[in-house]
Subunit: 273 residues, 2 copies
């Protein structure tokens, strides 16, 4: 029987406690003895990069990733160039905060041409690599659930993310495996195996039935149907031993006191992940 | 530039006018000069099979398919056997109403074991084939959108449906391509090509943004982002020239007068499909 993962690997993805500022989230992690945090850029923007860096450094926490770069497709070349610029800022923020992983939510199509949008994503990543490499930051392609294909990302399966990542070196581009997005995929275990050496992150939550909301509908681990431990075993068999981020977008969880959420997520992490 | 499809191929999938009885839906199709109808089993049950057969025969309509068989996974062997029995009734109904296609919505897992449930689907289809074959009815595996993996079907991509169908003869098992379920798939065009000779149905609607409801959220053709004509061209290039079912599950459309819905769907079919 597989053991629970070490608490040394637990990371709070900051969206899980969306009401908290960066300082509050960091303090919460310190109180709960959670050693990692994944930082969202809108939380950095609230206090500025310099202050964010000080908050993280003072806390002793490690940053597992920055959320998020991406959003490459746009209707015009100048808009696409603006998106690239924004991704360069995200890479700088990742480097400043001491993480080598920028999570890419690749973006929706500006029109009905989904294949064209997918090409824009590939082009954007290609264009970004030298800058990312020079900052020691890897680009983590996170496939999003197909139900977000129209409004959040045109990258929707691990197979597709692997197809895009495998043409690059592992220190340039990899994939991020979020169980909420990939659990349903009949080919997920073979694609996790195929991603070996290219896995840059592992995110956990759960798929609850019925889903309360298309966007804010993720569940706490153990409350849904996802085979969390089986998926963790698979990413570990593929060589991933890095931080495990708890990323839960759910209004009911946001409405609870942050300390309670962190206590529950530690419990569920031990029991179900 | 590709032409609109012939109205000779247009079929009303009865769920689109869910408030109508079978008689009302048949009458509506006759008034609107829609030559095909896809009949749902709960509508057959309302009046009985004999009366349903008379209603169809008197109208001169053709039946494009029966919705639905499937729902194979269950917790116990006896429950699974009951599901098979129910599928046998569905096959008899298809044969009686003069269609050779039974659409399979394969069913969710009874627990967290999604791979086990997928095996139960494969076993169920295998078991059903001789009975279906003896009735001249083909089993159409319809992959459902991955957002339904937990509560409606563990068959979620065309690749997966093709993997299951291709071990059988085309007169035994095939796939049903519903644009709402597969439009997002980066491999959908290669899988449609691969399904050549095995395509038993083509269903249209649209993916509207934002999706108003996880289940009752399908849009009228043209109101969303799906590349309908491109997908129709692909299924035709793969040899499918059969009926095109309009299948829209949407509360706002159900609340409109059925004749208005049929008029609009004819227009949109010509313009967008």
């Amino acid at each position: 029987m597989t053991q629970a993962p070490s608490l040394d690997r637990l990371s709070l993805n900051q969206i899980t406690t969306d009401r908290w500022s960066l300082q509050e989230a960091v303090d919460g992690c310190v109180r709960a003895e959670i050693p990692w945090i994944s930082v969202w850029r809108h939380k950095i923007a609230e206090v500025g990069l310099k202050e964010s860096k000080r908050i993280i450094a003072d806390s002793g926490l490690h940053v597992s990733s920055i959320c998020r770069g991406g959003m490459f497709p746009a209707a015009t070349a100048s808009e696409r160039e603006e998106r690239i610029d924004d991704n360069r800022r995200a890479i700088e923020e990742a480097a400043e905060l001491g993480t080598d992983v920028l999570v890419l939510v690749c973006g929706p199509a500006p029109d009905r041409d989904i294949a064209g949008a997918r090409q824009m994503v590939a082009d954007g990543i290609e264009q970004l690599i030298p800058f990312a490499e020079s900052h020691g930051v890897k680009l983590g392609i996170e496939p999003l659930h197909p139900m977000y294909a129209a409004d959040r990302s045109v990258i929707n399966t691990l197979q597709q993310a692997n197809d895009m990542a495998e043409v690059y070196e592992a220190h340039q581009v990899g994939v991020v495996v979020d169980v909420f997005h990939v659990w349903w995929d009949p080919y997920v275990y073979q694609e996790i195996q195929r991603a070996s050496g290219h896995i840059l992150g592992f995110h956990v939550s759960d798929w609850i039935v019925p889903v309360p909301d298309l966007f804010k509908g993720r569940g706490m681990m153990g409350d849904g149907v996802i085979e969390l431990r089986k998926l963790r075993n698979a990413v570990e068999a593929a060589g991933y031993q890095g931080p495990i981020e708890v990323e839960i977008i759910n209004q009911a969880i946001w409405d609870q006191p942050g300390d309670d959420v962190l206590a529950l997520m530690k419990e569920r992490y031990k029991e179900h992940v």
